[in-house]
Symmetry: C2
Subunit: 411 residues, 2 copies
């Protein structure tokens, strides 16, 4: 069953499939799909919420950070808990349900559904994990020549070949060079390795930006609905205000500028200081690919309104319609003649998506452009508090942005 | 030079060597070691702080989150920037300074100073990165038998052997089982794998706890001075108040209960709601190892005052005085007869320290005990927003807590 189901989900499993409901006043989802009938059932192991003040614990749900309480994250929420409990049921009592397997499609996690990793990537990672074997003759028989070559190249980029050392807080300089070169090749416009901040997947990068921009609940972030719930969760955790804009299902989840303007004005009229626009392109969970003209309008809108454009571009390899093509917002804005001083743009990328789907490696980066030097220093400072992202993830991000090419092997 | 310097720093390089100055009113460092004479010199590439309101950028230092501005992180701060600029000087003009190499000892990063990784750990990591070679005959010639055995055991613990899939948000269950068993063996008391939250190094775990506990600037966290500056940075980023307690240099950086009480009372009298006590044991940067009786007093103090005990135990392997021994706070509290309902305790551990010093792998965990079920759910929810920590780091954390033993190889 796994095989055929994986087959059926081939074009889908790289995205979150569950459209999510939120209860917040600023999470304008319809409430018809309420999960509450299940929420106190035997499937849930959680203790009922206790208001008792005679708790033996100094920390209670009543005295923790209310932003944490408020945050919702349905990707691992009630539906997943239900599935996990059904799975336990099936293990304890086989045949107790009219199905005998649970396939988790709540999050894009292709390797958990049987997708195999790309051999070249894994060979390079293994060799960088254990560089001592790089020059052993047996290694030639076990690893491909191009992987050995690339691994040498990478360990030579790491100071002291120390793949177990903390790197520069933005990531190993040589790997950022590779990524910048990959961006240049993709876009046809220059990319600066000093603009790259490597992160443990894209999620911490999104948090970094929310942390930077949100000062209070009066700071708003324009987010698409439907969205990937990292955005609502991160906005809640940082105490900001989610300003929704609705994608238009009738036009293939189109992103309409009049809708953006309408929602921006509505938020402003409530005293919300809107600071940024999140665009997920290709869309998650909606899968649409924005056209270049639409993207130009979005860039123009952000420029005119003084908004930071937060471009979630982690699905850039996941375009399944031949007539659609991914264009990065960096490329679009540069092709309009807009440079560093014209548009503030952050592009998020991850090793977890694309054809590789290396979710467990937690590699990713953000390309940060159009910030003043003093704000960039603040971004660097916050990055440095966590020292650096994991080196395997950094290496993989460099591979994803610079995969082997036909005839690229130099023997 | 590198070798001998590395030698001289053998006992030191696993700790931060720079005692740090803070300018905040609640960071009570003496201000005599001011770095300001350098701060506008040619060594600093940063643009002078601009108050201009005619900035072309929508985001300025004046309108970002003030908590970010306030946060200081000297481990990667001005001294490091100065060193980096000196290094650039040396590269551009060899002989321009009365030294020809910079050794970075600002942070415990032993592999950057030439310490080699532990072969067993790296072999297992390489095999788990590329499990396709596990059953190839050439692998026997290149990897040790015990590493192959352990790698099989680990990939079998990962659902679908998918080392590239997101794991459970707390970490792979089988790896948490191994860690819990390692804690039990270390302490002689039970450990529950469901109490383990694996993280990308210890730093995100510390942030998670600060995020949970801090509601406003009226929430205080007792921190040792001198401290590891992650704590002050994290408290600032989460908008809390650092309540200092001073380690007593005269008694080998002793942690005195009367000092804790004095500082707690002083904070309370200012209206600060003190929520937790950070203890770094063994000390960072001070290196002291607390005695068991002292630890019992600390546990008693936290219990009586209703404080969460945040135990930074990442240096548990770094004890260099034969008559001193590390005791975990979990062991000490359990040996006093205190269980889940008596003391709220979080222990932080990392793969970056110890004899292995695998900083770049970003592996770590927190063991969370004495929280109510509803608060644990909140901790889990926040962990799930970032999906999971990196799998290589998770694997390494399991190895660190369960290293090979003499005669443990089953052929």
């Amino acid at each position: 069953m796994r095989k055929s189901a994986a087959d059926r989900f081939r074009h889908l499993f790289n995205r979150s499939l569950i459209l999510l409901r939120h209860r917040h006043h600023h999470h304008p989802f319809p409430s018809s799909s309420s999960l509450s009938p299940f929420s106190r059932s035997r499937f849930f192991s959680s203790t009922p919420f206790s208001m008792a003040s005679d708790s033996p614990f100094p920390v209670t749900a009543q005295n923790i950070n209310p932003k944490v309480l408020k945050c919702e994250y349905a990707v691992r929420g009630e539906v997943v808990t239900l599935a996990q409990n059904l799975q336990k049921d099936l293990q304890a009592n086989p045949g107790s349900h009219p199905f005998d397997e649970i396939l988790y499609c709540n999050i894009g996690n292709p390797q958990s559904l049987g997708q195999q990793p790309i051999t070249f990537f894994r060979e390079v990672l293994a060799l960088c994990d254990h560089p001592a074997i790089l020059d052993k003759s047996e290694t030639q028989g076990l690893f491909s020549t191009d992987a050995i070559q690339r691994a040498w190249q990478i360990v030579d980029q790491i100071p002291g070949r120390a793949t177990g050392a903390y790197s520069h807080s933005q990531g190993v300089k040589g790997l950022r060079d590779t990524i910048a070169a990959g961006i240049e090749e993709r876009d046809g416009f220059p990319a600066n390795p000093d603009d790259i901040f490597m992160t443990d997947g894209a999620s911490p990068a999104v948090h970094n930006m929310m942390q930077l921009l949100i000062r209070s609940e009066n700071d708003g972030i324009l987010c698409p609905i439907p969205q990937y719930p990292l955005y609502s969760a991160s906005i809640d955790l940082h105490g900001g205000f989610l300003v929704p804009y609705y994608l238009d299902e009738a036009t293939g989840w189109g992103l309409e500028i009049p809708e953006l303007k309408k929602q921006l004005e509505a938020a402003k009229s409530k005293g919300i200081n809107v600071r940024a626009l999140v665009v997920i392109n290709p869309g998650n969970p909606t899968g649409q690919v924005l056209g270049e003209e639409n993207q130009r309008d979005i860039v123009e809108f952000c420029k005119q309104e003084g908004l930071v454009l937060l471009a979630d571009e982690v699905y850039q390899e996941n375009v399944y319609v031949p007539e659609k093509k991914f264009h990065s917002f960096k490329k679009v804005s540069r092709s309009m003649g807009y440079g560093e001083n014209d548009i503030t743009l952050v592009s998020f990328q991850s090793v977890s998506k694309g054809y590789h789907g290396e979710c467990g490696k937690r590699g990713g980066y953000m390309e940060v452009t159009g910030f003043s030097a003093e704000v960039r220093e603040q971004i660097y400072k916050v990055a440095s508090v966590n020292l650096c992202s994991n080196i395997s993830g950094q290496i993989l991000a460099s591979l994803v942005m610079s995969p082997p090419k036909v005839n690229s092997l130099h023997l």
